[in-house]
Amino acid sequence: MDTVILNKVSLSILGQKYIKGDFMMLRMKKVSLIIAVVLCFALVMTGCGSSTSNTAEKSSVASVSTVATATAATAATAAATAAATAPAEKIKLRFYGKIVEYTSGEAMCKALQDKFKDKYEIEAIQVDWGNLEKVVRTGIASGDPADVYQWWPTQLKKFVDSKMCLDLTPYLDADSGAWKNTFVPSALDSGKYDGKYYGLPEDSNFAIMYANADLFEKAGVAIPSVWTWDEFVLASNAIKEKAGVFPFVVTSDLIAWMPRFGMASASMKAGIKSEDLSTGKVDFTAAYFTDVLKNIKSYNAAGYMYPGKGSITQKRDEAKAAFLQGKVAILAEVSSFAAVIAKDAKFKLTAIPWPSMGNKSNAENGDKSDFDGLFVPANAAHPDASVELLKAFYSPEIMKIHADNGYAPCVQGVEISNPVIKSLVDISGGMSSTTGDPININAKMNDYFSKMLMADLCLANTSEADIMKKIAELAK
């Protein structure tokens, strides 16, 4: 009987429980609403905070910039003070400049870490070339960038314009320019904007053609020291007909070199100033520009580019493999791969310059010397320590590792024993780092040249005139 009563009571309690449950639901709704409001408030605060932090970041940038642009003596004193009063606890520095593709990359970073093992904890980060711009931009925008970034000094303008780079001039000029004098002057100037140095060159790295000299000989073509586009086409025809191989291969990520160098050399012949081409102050609809595209289109249509169909989308490994297997006579690549390619080539390898669509002279054919390099972000946490890192990295001891691995350093006093590298240095000697380049006009132009132009020209069959109109639009 008790049990039955208890059961009834339980039921009634359960009834109450349900009522309570509803009450709990209401409370839950209230709690949820409060949480939602708090979350939204936090979000709004985050938004406001970001603007504040931006302002703070800007002021930090400004203050760093101010410090950096102070007199040479002040900077030198600051550097000396920083060195003298090194903190007991090791500062953590991030060096975004480990190039694993270069055989010297690991060893140079190891040497840098060893040199500062008692002072700094250096994290050497591998350079992600494919996403480099994203990495640099997001790193700086986050307010917590790496202390040193890899970037080509000749292409630093967009970061300089956005005040993202630390002015290195005071550091270079300190002690009567002691550090500045260690660099090859023409190379150092590649990172100079409005009279100030923002990027430092690491090694000469420029566009080059690697030629299979055996195939050239088989085709009866002399190895050129300089050549025009017409001579290049004639040589290609002879190689195809007599040696029975494809004359030329260029990978999809480098294929923009064809129109870029073509336009540079054609504009030089037309008497256009380099800076005008680089800033877009030229008439892109002029005939000498459309002729560049016509040349390239007809060259590809003639089947000179490996592997015929698919010549616009070649991957780097595929192109290199085809060249090393003797299926192609000329490979377009960067000069810094000379040692690696020479090691794998089972034939006589030689380096030749790009053909000119303008004058037949190394200095005037639009060949552009370029450099790998480093810069310090304007909002780096420890600018003096970053500069100290750079000084050590550009020391002859560490640059010797680079040279011994087959790369041409831009620092004086480093002995170069490799003859291939010496020949590249000779070629680069005739080039200019200030050659005009339309990709410097803006990021969209760079994107169009790098990814779209050749596809528009050779795959979509867009007319040369329409492409140049589009380029002119982008230049605005």
Binding site: I5, I13, Q16, K17, N131, S162, K309, E318, K451, M454
Partner: protein, 311 residues
């Protein structure tokens, strides 16, 4: 005396239930909070932040400026971006249709061939979905290579060399190649879900159809597919959402090229934000794509809606 006992009993039961409820509530929150925190931090906040950013102009470094609907107006006036949106929709729908149809038939085949061989077949068919996207992409880049690729060499071997092609360069085949790879990667999920649903069906259903003279194909179309329609719908929604977000496979296989033939909204968003420094415009693309995805999911849900069967 009995009344006192009853009151005590009621009071004890009330307090015990109350404490149990509180205990359960606390325990529930303890379990939910970590996930809630991470999901809020990693998904909800960025989504809301992205929405706000879509009304602003920001280069990723300097101050943000409110431009309200300017980014959206730019989006709908930009013919290239609309083409990228079309590419995203084309890739998502074609990949989903292919993956779901093939997945269902694979499930039906696996179910038919029995448990032992079926287990092995299930593993094989599901494996592409387990392999990282980058590896799948590279695998097909090699297969589709115009010179050294398996496909062209196979065509040459069987005397169809004239059909060999630069598959990832030809504007007519590039996007479809990516669709095929997407189908290959995604059909395993539909297969596993559909197979599990078919296994749940009572054998009496198959037997009764068999008695009426229906073969396996008839059983599939008349019984199995209508009954597991909701499961197929779930697989389709999952596959569709995943395909809309596709970034990796396009990036690995073509980087959106050649030119911008295979460029999709996610690829273009990254480009616009990080290469052009137009974060606000990129955010507006994300918002529009999200709306398209939501609309597509609603349509798919409607298509696969219907009766729920109980056995």
């Amino acid at each position: 005396m009995p009344d006192l006992n009853l009151k005590r009993g009621i009071s004890m039961t009330k307090s015990s239930l109350k404490s149990k409820n509180i205990h359960r509530l606390i325990l529930g929150w303890i379990f939910i909070l970590p996930a809630l925190f991470f999901i809020t931090y990693a998904s909800v906040f960025p989504a809301i932040s992205n929405f706000i950013l879509s009304f602003q102009k920001w280069d990723g470094f300097l101050d943000k400026k409110w431009v309200w609907f300017e980014n959206y107006i730019h989006f709908f006036k930009d013919g290239d971006v609309l083409r990228y949106l079309y590419n995203s929709v084309y890739l998502a729908f074609l990949s989903t249709i292919g993956a779901v149809v093939i997945g269902i038939f694979l499930a039906a085949l696996v179910f038919k061939i029995g448990s032992k061989l079926g287990t092995f077949a299930r593993l094989v068919f599901f494996m592409p979905g387990m392999i990282p996207v980058a590896i799948n992409g590279l695998l097909f880049v090699f297969i589709l290579n115009p010179q050294m690729g398996l496909l062209n060499n196979f065509l040459k071997l069987i005397g169809l060399g004239s059909y060999s092609n630069a598959w990832l360069e030809d504007s007519h085949t590039t996007m479809n190649c990516i669709v095929v790879v997407n189908i290959w990667m995604m059909c395993g999920i539909t297969m596993v879900l559909s197979y599990a649903a078919i296994r749940m069906l009572p054998t009496s259903l198959f037997e009764s159809c068999k008695i009426d003279g229906g073969g396996y194909v008839r059983q599939l179309f008349s019984i199995v597919f209508p009954v597991i329609k909701k499961v197929i719908g779930t697989a389709a929604i999952y596959t569709l959402a995943a395909n809309f977000k596709t970034y990796g496979i396009v990036q690995v296989m073509t980087q959106g090229g050649p030119g911008d033939i295979t460029r999709t909204i996610p690829i273009n968003m990254i480009n616009t934000a990080f290469n052009f420094g137009e974060f606000g415009y990129a955010a507006s693309m994300g918002v529009v794509l999200s709306l398209v995805v939501v609309a597509s999911i609603l349509i798919t849900t409607k298509l696969f809606g219907g009766d729920t069967y109980e056995f």
